[in-house]
Subunit: 162 residues, 2 copies
Amino acid sequence: MRGQIQLLCATFAVLVMTSMAARPADDITPPSGYRNWFHVNTMIIDKASPLFESLGGMHSVHVNAVGEPALKKGGPYPDGSIFVTDLHDFSTVDGTTTEGKLKGIAVMVKDASKYAATGGWGFQFFIDADAKKPFVTDVVKQCFGCHEPQKTADYVYSTYIP
Amino acid sequence: MRGQIQLLCATFAVLVMTSMAARPADDITPPSGYRNWFHVNTMIIDKASPLFESLGGMHSVHVNAVGEPALKKGGPYPDGSIFVTDLHDFSTVDGTTTEGKLKGIAVMVKDASKYAATGGWGFQFFIDADAKKPFVTDVVKQCFGCHEPQKTADYVYSTYIP
């Protein structure tokens, strides 16, 4: 439950715009082929959640081949590890929830020196998975603040579900 | 909606034991590495569904590299195409649904000559993803009967969601 709340907090922080000074991770671009990466898990946030307005959707988390072994042992992650969460609409009819249109992707990239100020991770969210629509303008305020308590797992909330 | 019902019907047929004479697809084994295959979609069947008892859970569908291009154009699928649906428990707390323990995997393998009697596809479900726990004993009654109407898409219900 603690992990779940922290995951929500982290994702919320990634998505919610703040009024703080902008500090974007301009060098991060939307990775291609992430749906062929290891499928970590899927999570849904529905209308019963207070986070629905900002975070509602079906979140499917993927990790690349560099990060996959680290996920399975709970970190730490080598440079080059990337997580992508693709966020889709969904609909529920008669107890069945099915996936809809892509809304965007959240990206988390490990580079210990480049992103030393944020635990070695860079963060970005791309609306419509479009490189021209980055959403995060201050990575500390919007992302790392909520990832920081997860230091023992190298700032990652996702865990391996066999 | 029609597709959704048909998908449910098909999956239901795969899972529900029948009293008909057994005709298992004994040659199918649980594929490894399917979580690194292309993630097709995720679907959840919850307690509000009449199918919950037999089918409840989070279904994540994957297709291998042989079948991925065919999925994207809506079929037909070449021999060697494989779909795997992994079925996990899930829990919902305060509007957030998270993935739980693996319950089993459904497998669909294309071999036009070997499985000519069932549209070129072999079917099996493995409880706990365990090769020693196959669930399907009559592939026509439990699987193909519901896939047959989907002939124009080479008997596949999943569609490509970009």
